[in-house]
Point group: C3
Chain length 132, copies 3
Amino acid sequence: MSLAKGNLINKTFEAYAESNEIGSAWLSGIGALKDPEIGYYSLKKKSYNHKIFSGDYELLSLCGNITIKEGKYFSHTHITFSDTNYQVFGGHLFDAKITAAGEFIMIPGNKNINRKMNLNIGLPLWCLENRF
Amino acid sequence: MSLAKGNLINKTFEAYAESNEIGSAWLSGIGALKDPEIGYYSLKKKSYNHKIFSGDYELLSLCGNITIKEGKYFSHTHITFSDTNYQVFGGHLFDAKITAAGEFIMIPGNKNINRKMNLNIGLPLWCLENRF
Amino acid sequence: MSLAKGNLINKTFEAYAESNEIGSAWLSGIGALKDPEIGYYSLKKKSYNHKIFSGDYELLSLCGNITIKEGKYFSHTHITFSDTNYQVFGGHLFDAKITAAGEFIMIPGNKNINRKMNLNIGLPLWCLENRF
């Protein structure tokens, strides 16, 4: 998949999955992005901390998946990205806009994967018959 | 594959590969983990340096493979992970425990890959007929 | 794919793709490398900034693809790599030499992907009928 300048990464994956009824897929990719909003999950608080990194960055790795959460197609992705000193930052990706280029692969699964809230963790986790 | 809180990452891959007789596979994934033991290889010393990073981290990328080493299923994985400042660390993963969630894909190969000690390098490398 | 000590990463991918007429593929991998030449793209200047990191590093993630640019097989890859303090650096990979080991997967696509210069971006981007 090729994403163009200005595309929101996770939103574009979700729109594509919805259009093509892809109820589970693995995602991987590279490119360049701006102003990523990322976070990390606190098990204690059962919520995400957020931060927006202003500016342009190289997207070194996006890794994640498409599943179905509360009936909607949902991107869960983590990223690493680098600044002009080649230092690397990263976290859970809320979303970010593509700048120069976005090159991704989406590998569809052979069945839908639904997420269901796990109250112990505080997050909607994959529902798999035997976890594998 | 979905790993649950407390699962050791590499150990779980190896147990799954053994149960399902998967003699080669590619691994990719994200999640959250604690106390990762990582390392880097010194070609001079022909051994790994080790370090345990205490605490909770987002797992930004796990990348690696399952092969067979000395008759046993063996995970070789490298990871990047971030702290609460979104700083990123990484290395060769000895092992780490999943905390909030672990979402992985295992892509099986069509034949077993065995590792054999390369004395020049000091590591068990893939045995492939023509390396590709 | 197993790359050996001294192999140039991107060059080896391109040679393999050419020999096997693989006109599009997804790449992922780990290993150890030396003296990587990396860069980041400046949309303003429409060119890459370059830097060589001297020394030995663990390759934590290589992510990218093979496509065809001006009739030639072309690797576009981004990497993250760590030093002896487990600090992580990364960027667009011009090329680097494998040291201890290089373990990669190349997932071929079912048709060629050509790149074409996008004058607005200043880079040769994928030509896909509908971008997906």
